[in-house]
Amino acid sequence: MRITTFQELEEVCLNRNKNIYEVMMTSETQSGENTEYHTRLQATRSLFAMNNAINVGLKSTETSISGMSGDNCAKLQENFGKNKSLFTPTLQKIMTYALAISEENVRMGTIVACPTAGSCGIVPSVIISYAQDNNISQDEQINALITAGAIGKIVALKLPLAGAVGGCQAECGVASAMASGALTQMRGGNVSQIINSVGLALKNILGLTCDPVCGLVEIPCIKRNAFFAIHAVTASELAMADIVSMIPTDEIVDAMAQTAQLMSPLLKESAKGGLAKTKTAIELERNKSMV
């Protein structure tokens, strides 16, 4: 059976007493899309590359090609080391890793598009930070990453995961929902809680525009990764407390797809509106040495 909605996914998981990653891999095997072996292999490779991106990014202060960014992660680490934070060590780590990976991305470092390059810091920072601090095995992290992929896949059936089509809802927004589901799974949440966490996360990002300054995947993208990694944790906390979204997750995805259609093309990666057309952004564009 080919699963195309969160409702179907939940029903099949409950009926067969299986996890999301198991059911979705079986579904892909049966429809001939992919084998479990290949999915696990890619997830293992991706997880490995995500860890690498973190390790490299944590140590670097090299600027991006445009020269506009590159030192946020270093500053955050320094401040966490010096001043008292309101965040627990794991939350600090999540923010730090999200910046490490996103900055690595703008330096042309190697990252994993998950689901996209612009949103590449969110899923890995949440999965890897939680795993490191809670003794989660590599296998369980891979399962969590596959669940994240399954969540993104179901959303993508209704809305392509690209800022040019869906605004940043479809990039950082979906990444946050994927991360939230993965986290809820690693924390031992049940399937209904995982799917609810996805809905809660998505509901809170409806309308998020994509208006990158100078048309580059940099401003607001890098800092947005840190914000939405923490956003994923918030959704998971609500879901673990069984605070249920009144609107089912599938309907939220429908709303997101509709919002994407209603969103002006000026706010969908064209760099023709919003932040990209602020006074400062226009100055940056004029001064930039890039083209």
Binding site: M24, M25, E28, E33, N34, H38, T39, Q42, A43, R45, S46, A49, S64, I65, S66, E104, N105, V106, R107, M108, G109, T110, I111, V112, A113, C114, P115, T116, A117, G118, C120, V123, L145, I146, A148, G149, A150, G152, K153, A156, L157, P160, L161, A162, A164, V165, M178, C214, G215, L216, V217, E218, A271, K288, M290, V291
Partner: protein, 222 residues
């Protein structure tokens, strides 16, 4: 990507920062390299529209060059491609253009070496790409299938000869796209395959009448 798999969502592993402007550029270069499939000592890249406006900031220029030199999307050398020995061996030029009737992320890659070939393509989002033209022939190759590309004198019956040879080994044809060039004398055929063609099959296709260009282009790793 209307029907992505789990793998599509949690990959590719790539040099940042943009799927369409960096990874897509590398893949366009790689696919163009496979289409050219000969030695070259000079390449001209014409970047259009968004590729021209934000290309440098996204490393599109580096990605394209890395691709034609055969580097994969996740290669850590892409960032410093201009300094690699591979890049120093050839001449390359980038031109940045605005042409309203071209795709926002369009590029022409013009090879000079054993032969002169102009290959055009677009980066159509999420790292997906298409090669749309070779010299003045319209073609369509997306790198997802092993593809047979033929340019030949347009005579009746060529399509059926070719498809017959392909199907002998029970190789399934996923898509077939034919097109005539502007003068109407020559035609191009792109055949996307679910399997592999044997050398023997390729040899027999190349012996058909009036075959000018025949290329067997392996699909790209995703």
């Amino acid at each position: 990507m209307s029907n992505p798999t789990i793998i599509d969502i949690i990959s590719p592993i790539m040099a940042g920062p943009s799927s369409s402007h960096t990874a897509g550029a590398v893949r366009l270069g790689l696919l163009a390299r496979n289409v050219y499939n000969s030695n070259f000592d000079k390449v001209v890249f014409k970047l259009y529209n968004s590729y021209a406006q934000t290309g440098k900031g996204h490393g599109t220029d580096k990605g394209l060059l890395a691709g034609v030199l055969g580097f994969n999307v996740d290669d850590i050398r892409i960032k410093n491609i201009f300094d690699t020995p591979e890049a120093k061996k050839i001449k390359y030029v980038f031109e940045f253009l605005e042409v309203f009737n071209r795709h926002p992320n369009a590029v022409d890659i013009i090879f000079d070496g054993d032969l002169h070939l102009e290959i055009s393509g677009n980066s159509i989002g999420a790292g997906e790409i298409e090669i749309t033209g070779i010299n003045d022939y319209q073609i369509k190759i997306d790198g997802k299938y092993n593809t047979l590309l033929l340019i030949y004198g347009d005579e009746p019956g060529v399509i059926s000869h070719v498809t017959k040879i392909i199907q002998e080994n029970e190789v399934n044809i996923a898509f077939l796209h034919c097109c005539r060039n502007s003068s109407g004398e020559d035609a191009s055929m792109t055949v996307c395959l679910d399997g592999e063609l044997s050398n023997d099959q390729l040899k027999r296709i190349s012996k058909l009448n009036d075959m000018y260009i025949i290329r067997y282009i392996k699909k790209l790793e995703s």
